[in-house]
Amino acid sequence: MSQGNESMNESEKNIGGTESVLLNLGPQHPSTHGVFRLRTLLDGEEVVDVEPILGYLHRGSSKLAEERSYTQIITLTDRLDYLAGMSNNLAYISALEKLTDVEPPERARYLRVIMVELMRIASHLMGIGFLINDLGAWITPLMHMFREREKILDLFEMVCGARITFSYMRLGGVSHDLPEGFEKSIAEFLDDFEKKIEEYENLLLGNEIILSRMVGVAPLAGERAINCSITGPNLRASGVDWDLRKQDPYEIYDQLDFSVPLGENGDNWDRMVVRIEEMKESVHILRQCMDKLPQGPYRADTDFFVRPPEGEAYGMVEAPKGELGFYLVSDGSIAPYRMGIRSPSFINLTVLRELCVGWKLADIIVNFGTLDINVGEVDR
C-alpha cells in the first residue's frame, strides 16, 4: 500500500538478527537507464525496501511549454522519451488537434501511424536490449538490437532529417511527405526484421538462464496493475486486454487488422515476451499501412503560430511505454496556459517497490528493466 517509507526510516532495524544495508543504486550506476536513483534497503541479498528518487533529469518541460508557441513545443516533446520521439510528437499533436478541431488529411494519418509503429519497434528493441544487458549478457543482444534500431533511425533520417529529435508531426499533418525510395527501404527492412526477430527468439527465448531469471519473478496481478494506473505492455503482460489502439482507436487504427498480445502472470518473462510479440504486430501493421497508403496531401493548411480557442483538451496515444497523454489548457493566446504530461514511465514506477520487495538484489535491476522506463520521460 504505502510507497514506502515508514520502513525506510528504520534502516537501523535489525532483520533476522543481522543489520540491513542501505545501498544507493544510482544516480550514477550502470543499469539505471539514465540518471535515476534507487534507495534500497537490503537484508543480505534480499530486498527489504526500495524507494525511487527522481528528478535528476528534471527539465521542467511543462513550464517551458508555457512560454513557447504551439509549434515550438513539438521540439520539447522530442526530448521527453528520447527513445520514442515520434510517439511523443503524435500524442502532443493529437491533443492540439482536439483543441483546435483541425482534421489531418488521410495520407497524413497513415504516415503518422507508420512512423509511430516504427518507433514502437525501435523503443521495444531498446527496452529488451538493455534488459538483457542488465541480466548480464555483456552487450551482445543489445548490440544486435542497436543494429536494427539503426536501420529504423536511417528510415527516419530519410523522412525527416533527424535520428532522435524528429519534430516530425505538425498540426494537421506531418512536416514531410515520404521521400523517393522510402517504400523500397521499408519493405527491405521489414523483410529483414522478421528474420531478425526469429534470431532474437533463438538467442533469448529458449535460454535456460534467462528463463530461470525471469519466469515467475515479480508477478503483477491484473487488478493491481489497473489500480496502480499501469499502462502499456506492462499492463498487457498482466493479462489485461487494454490497448488504446483497439479500445479507443485514434488515427487509422480502427481500419487496421492487428491483435494485442497478452501475458498471463505479469512476471518479468511476460513483460519481455509481450514486447517481442508487439514488435511482430507492428511489422504486420506497417505492411498494411504501406499497402493502403493513399495519395493526397500530407498536411492541412494551418498557421505556423496557431492560436487555439479557449478551452482544454487531453490527447493520448498508446506510446511504446504506455499511455502517453498531453493535457493542454489554452487561454486563446499563442502559447498554452498549461501543458500537463501524463507520462507512462513515471506512473509505471508506482509498482516498482511492490515488484522488488522480497526478491534479490539482482532482481531489482531486472524488474526495473522490464518496466522499461525512460528517465527523460519520468523526470520531464
Binding site: 513557447r68 509549434t71 515550438q72 513539438i74 521540439t75 520539447l76 551482445t140 544486435h144 543494429r147 539503426e150 536511417d154 533520417e157 530519410m158 523522412v159 525527416c160 532529417g161 533527424a162 529529435t165 519534430s167 512536416s175 514531410h176 511527405d177 521521400p179 523517393e180 534470431e199 533463438n202 538467442l203 533469448l204 527465448l205 529458449g206 535460454n207 535456460e208 538462464i209 528463463l211 505556423f304 503560430f305
Partner: protein, 168 residues
C-alpha cells in the same frame, strides 16, 4: 518437451554465426555513412540575395538563437526594403529542429549537411554573417520540396536562383 540446455545452445549458435559475418559498424573517421538529403545539419546555407530581413526565422526559433540586425535601405533582395547588417546563428545552442527553415517565406535559409563542427570556445560556434555569406552553398532538401522535385541530392552547390521556389 524441451531438452535441457538446447535453448542455451541455440543462443550460442546465433553468436557463432555472427563471428563469421562482416561487422555492421563502420569506422567513423575513415568511412562515413551516407546522410539523407533531408538531413538537418550544421552548415546553414543562407542566401543574402533572397533574404528580406523579415525575421520570420528568428521568431520561429524556439531558442531565440538567430540574431538579425537590419536598417532600411534599398537592396537587391525580394522585399527591396531592408539591408541586413547582421545575421548570426548561435549553433552552440541550436537543436537543428529546422523550424527556421520551415518558417522562411523566401527560401533564403536552408539546413546544411555538415555534422562535424566542434570548437574549443563557445563563441566560435556562432556562425557569423560573413561565414554565412562565404560558406559553401550546399543546401539540404529539408522543407524544400522544390529541390527534391529536381532530383537534387544535397551534393552540389546551388546559387540563389536555383535554391528557391521561384528564381529572383
Amino acid at each position: 518437451m524441451r531438452i535441457f540446455g538446447l535453448g542455451a545452445i541455440k543462443g550460442l549458435v546465433v553468436t557463432l554465426k555472427y563471428l563469421f559475418r562482416p561487422p555492421f559498424t563502420t569506422q567513423y573517421p575513415e568511412n562515413k555513412l551516407d546522410i539523407s538529403p533531408r538531413f538537418r545539419g550544421n552548415n546553414f546555407v543562407w542566401y543574402e540575395e533572397r533574404c528580406t530581413g523579415c525575421s520570420s526565422c528568428a521568431k520561429a526559433c524556439p531558442l531565440g538563437i538567430i540574431r538579425i540586425v537590419t536598417h532600411p535601405e534599398s537592396h537587391q533582395q525580394v522585399g527591396n526594403d531592408y539591408k541586413i547588417d547582421v545575421f548570426e546563428i548561435d549553433t552552440g545552442r541550436c537543436m537543428f529542429c529546422a523550424l527556421c527553415v520551415e518558417a522562411c517565406p523566401y527560401d533564403a535559409l536552408h539546413m546544411g549537411g555538415d555534422f562535424e563542427k566542434a570548437d574549443y570556445v563557445r563563441e566560435d560556434l556562432v556562425i557569423t554573417t560573413d561565414q554565412l555569406r562565404e560558406g559553401t552553398k550546399k543546401p539540404q532538401t529539408q522543407f524544400r520540396p522544390q529541390l527534391e522535385d529536381i532530383g537534387y541530392q544535397g551534393e552540389e552547390e546551388l546559387d540563389e536562383h536555383e535554391a528557391g521556389r521561384w528564381s529572383l
